[in-house]
Subunit: 312 residues, 2 copies
């Protein structure tokens, strides 16, 4: 029995129809309402799901960025301005007339990567999405870790540089996502640009150090520019630092890295893997931990949401 | 059917006989061999277990501080000098002639606190032992989290102050246990003593700032000394910082704090609870997370080890 999954992203709401084998039968997307009110967000998801349903009573799963409780209420969404305590499941069930399951977006994505993606068949797996921020989804002993209220996997705000760290909009200092996200790479690169360390990167950005973005570094590094590679090494250290903390706590066998940055491939992964071995406790006494790229791309969240919508 | 549990601590190996209701029927202890070789350590545990068995073929569980793999080999023990890759389970089964189960000591302790201690009946629980270092045991959805190899819960070496942090013997900088352990409190207190901020504390230590230990601060704070309380507030912030990181990742409902420091009661717990609310992501949108003292004291590890020795 096919189900529908909708992933609410920063720019788009992407929906899929998924069959029992995990195959995408159809997809539809609409822009995510910006600065959206709760009702506008619900309406966007309902539009995507309704379009895909086409009158059939398919169950719907939804992945939302933020703290989603086990009743399907979006309690807090750091990246959706003005939306808190939004009863997503209740509202959508009413509007769509089918059972609706709502989870955190990275929770959905890890479930998809584990079923039909990079982490297929793994009993222990952590998905880390390196985007504007950092999201996380965790599988332990083959089970999804939702936590006591559904909020598990909020790893982007793990404080890793408490004293002198960069301020984070969340109110803390030194959150991991200040350093190891796509935005973190951009910041590192602009610092290097202002220090005149990465002329080729600045050239790719049109000559203005302030215009440097992560993509300019990864492109220059892929072309073999040693200065850009050095920035990637530094960035890889920050990514690995958080992964090592997580490996110490969860003893996972596999990190699946998602998000746009991962398209850089080994330009990113090689430095992360190298630093991870320096940072995890007692690396020489542990079996290796795999650090691999996600394979489902932008569809991971929607596919996982559709899977989680299946009746138990 | 009673089982035996032995907890290998920094100073003693403590063993108990536990009945099916979780009641301690007998106990026995010997000093932990210092700078011990592997065989000396095995012999000490075998002596405790053998004494408690008294000829009966009771199953034996052992809790060991360090990375214990799922086959019962102690891969790495930061606090037992010179012991690595020690096949504890294999050696003990041979010597004792009964099935032996070996786990990390904090993993044992969390299982005990969850069954008959402070965390009784909780589905989501993290035990954090604040001793010389910091140990951790994790329960998710009512199940022990051992991780893919048995190494989960190594939370003391979570890096929380990456750039300017204190060096740790593990080779990293800024590990949580440099700040939030008993040793961390002593260091904070000596800093305050040298800065002449805590005269009452120095007095309790016999007048020498360098002789100040954590216990002098907790005693002065319990007596109402405002300067000692200020040190406890600062210390509580460091404890809470790591708990907040763990709460963000695991969404646990309850932290059980163990180790000698916890005898300070609310002198410690009140500042930790207050700072936790400042540090965890979106505290105002989460149900409260309990932060409570362990109740099984020095017996927790042995009780848990005995429980984990029960046949499935």
């Amino acid at each position: 029995m096919p189900t529908i999954g909708v992933d609410v992203g920063g720019t788009k709401c992407l929906g899929v129809v998924l069959d029992d084998d995990g195959k995408v039968l159809a997809e539809h997307r609409v822009p995510t309402p910006q600065m959206g009110s709760g009702p506008a967000l619900i309406a966007a998801v309902a539009e995507v799901a309704g379009q895909l349903q086409g009158g059939a009573a398919m169950r719907v799963g939804v992945g939302v960025p933020g703290l989603v409780d086990r009743g399907g209420t979006l309690r807090f969404a750091p990246n959706i301005v003005g939306v808190t305590e939004l009863p997503v499941r209740e509202e959508l069930s009413k509007q769509l007339g089918v059972p609706v399951q709502v989870d955190n977006d990275a929770t959905c994505a890890v479930w998809a990567e584990r079923a039909v993606g990079a982490g297929a068949g793994r009993a222990h797996l952590i998905l880390v999405t390196l985007g504007t921020g950092i999201g996380g989804g965790v599988v332990v002993d083959g089970q999804l870790v939702r936590g006591s209220h559904g909020f598990a996997g909020e790893i982007g705000h793990m404080v890793i540089d408490a004293v002198g760290g960069l301020p984070c909009p969340c109110g803390q200092r030194g959150c991991w996502e200040r350093y190891a996200s796509g935005s973190g790479l951009g910041r590192l690169a602009r610092e290097a640009a202002h220090a005149r360390q990465v002329p080729r990167v600045v050239e790719l950005a049109g000559g203005d150090p302030e215009a440097v973005r992560g993509e300019h570094v990864t492109r220059a590094a892929a072309d073999g520019d040693p200065a850009a590679r050095e920035v990637m090494n530094r960035f890889g250290w920050w990514v690995a630092l958080g992964l090592a903390n997580l490996a110490n706590a969860f003893d996972t066998e596999c990190f699946v890295l998602g998000g746009g940055l991962v398209e850089a491939g080994d330009i990113l992964l090689a430095p992360v893997r190298a630093s991870f071995l320096d940072l995890v406790e007692a690396a020489e006494h542990r079996p290796p931990v795999d650090i691999i790229p996600a394979t489902l791309g932008e569809h991971a969240g929607a596919i996982g949401a559709a899977m989680l919508a299946r009746p138990n």
